[in-house]
């Protein structure tokens, strides 16, 4: 059977409680991995301030990975709960992760080129 990749279908395959529980678990797991990386990058900035632009770009890239981690763990958690489903979760989450990362990229560039020059006086 051909699988679809819609949120509506996902909501039929799982209960809202299951989806939310999986998301919270995924968020906590991804954050546990990302927290030390974020702190390392911030501490890098305090010593290598003259490489600020480069380091902010690295932070933006690391946020892409963080977003993908959240979606990966979310996917994993849902699959572990129930395997016979009609939704193509992988495709659905990949699409959503890409959209989320485009938003992250835009916000990151705004922060880099607009907010930092305004705030850092």
């Amino acid at each position: 059977m051909m699988k679809n990749d819609t949120w509506k279908l996902l909501a039929k395959d799982f209960t809202i409680k299951d989806i939310l529980d999986s998301f919270i678990g995924a968020f906590i797991f991804a954050s546990l991995i990302y927290a030390p990386i974020a702190i390392i990058l911030v501490e890098l900035i305090t010593v290598f301030m003259y490489l600020l632009t480069l380091l902010v770009i690295i932070i933006i890239i690391s946020l892409f990975v963080y977003v993908f981690c959240i979606y990966y763990f979310w996917y994993k958690s849902l699959i572990l709960k129930k395997q016979n489903i009609n939704t193509d979760i992988k495709k659905l989450f990949t699409k959503t992760a890409i959209i989320t990362n485009i938003v992250v990229l835009v916000l990151g560039l705004v922060f880099l080129f607009v907010m930092i020059p305004i705030l850092w006086v």
Binding site: D21, G25, L32, P36, V47, Y50, K81, W120
Partner: protein, 352 residues
Amino acid sequence: MKVLTEYYKKFLLVLIIPYLFISFILFVRIPFAVYSPGGISEVEDLIEINYNQDKVITGSISTTYIMAVQRPTYFQFILGTLSPYASISNLSTTYETYTNQEIAQISYLDKETSVDASIIIAYTYAKKINPDIEINYVVKSLVYGKAEYLDHYDEINFGDEFIKLIGDGGYVVTDISEISDYTKDSTSYDFTFKNEDGEIYTLTLSTDSEYDKFGVTLKEYAIVDNSTIYPTYTERQSNIGGPSGGLLQTLAIYNHLIDEDLTHGLKIAGTGTIRYDGSVGYIGGVEQKIITAYVNKVDLFFIPSLDPTYTYDNYQVALKVCEKYGIDSDGWLIPVSSFADAVAYLEGLDES
């Protein structure tokens, strides 16, 4: 959550030890200071003078800041040792008893008072050319230091203004130079302060039995009288602390008040505190500031030069730094001992 924990149980257990290790090096702080290059910050972004708005300034005047990490974490310390431009030293004895937050408060107090000093000097010099300019100031004694043994330590904040104390024989002391003369008969006296919100409070402070001091350091500052100043100015909140931008702040403000453009289209930066008599004072972190200016491609860099025979004279140190990194200091590194020196140099550029 539960299914993920079950699935990654072994993985999580294996990760606990490296996680604890990483947490240790990222959070535990050690009593050192790491200084590394920072950036340059245009004075116009910090202080806006409401005057000569149509004047075209072709170049820019910027202060130079460095990153000073007091009590770095182990990770920051390691990074400091790896960076070719960073220097590491023991935590200054002055700062040993302060928290990082208190050190930041002192640093911001230095910045705020340096802006006042810059306004006073720049306006006073500009007034010689333009009599419309009006500048008045009041001298205030502000809390600049607190010893561990100070009574009511948490109630007195850095920057609070000393108003008076009731000294021996009921004499009201308002001048800090008189405090020691009128606090001999007793060990406790009533001090009155004003905090940044304008609230006046009185506290009884006692001298410490070991040091025979109250434990509060007061320093006199000239503060701009905003009610009479012309033209008015707007000062933005700064993220950068310290007094070392004084000279460049003064230059930028002065440049805004006069008709000619001292920048001549150049990207000007530098460092040096400004004193109330217009002379320039030494700063720290010369090496990091020179590198910062160089990577930011500034056209000329002002640096304090007060005594060429003194080993740690900023200019002499800067020359060595330029030599070390292969920077051509000729015509780029400009030694100055006063604000007038810097103005004279920039005016001289016009003639040459």
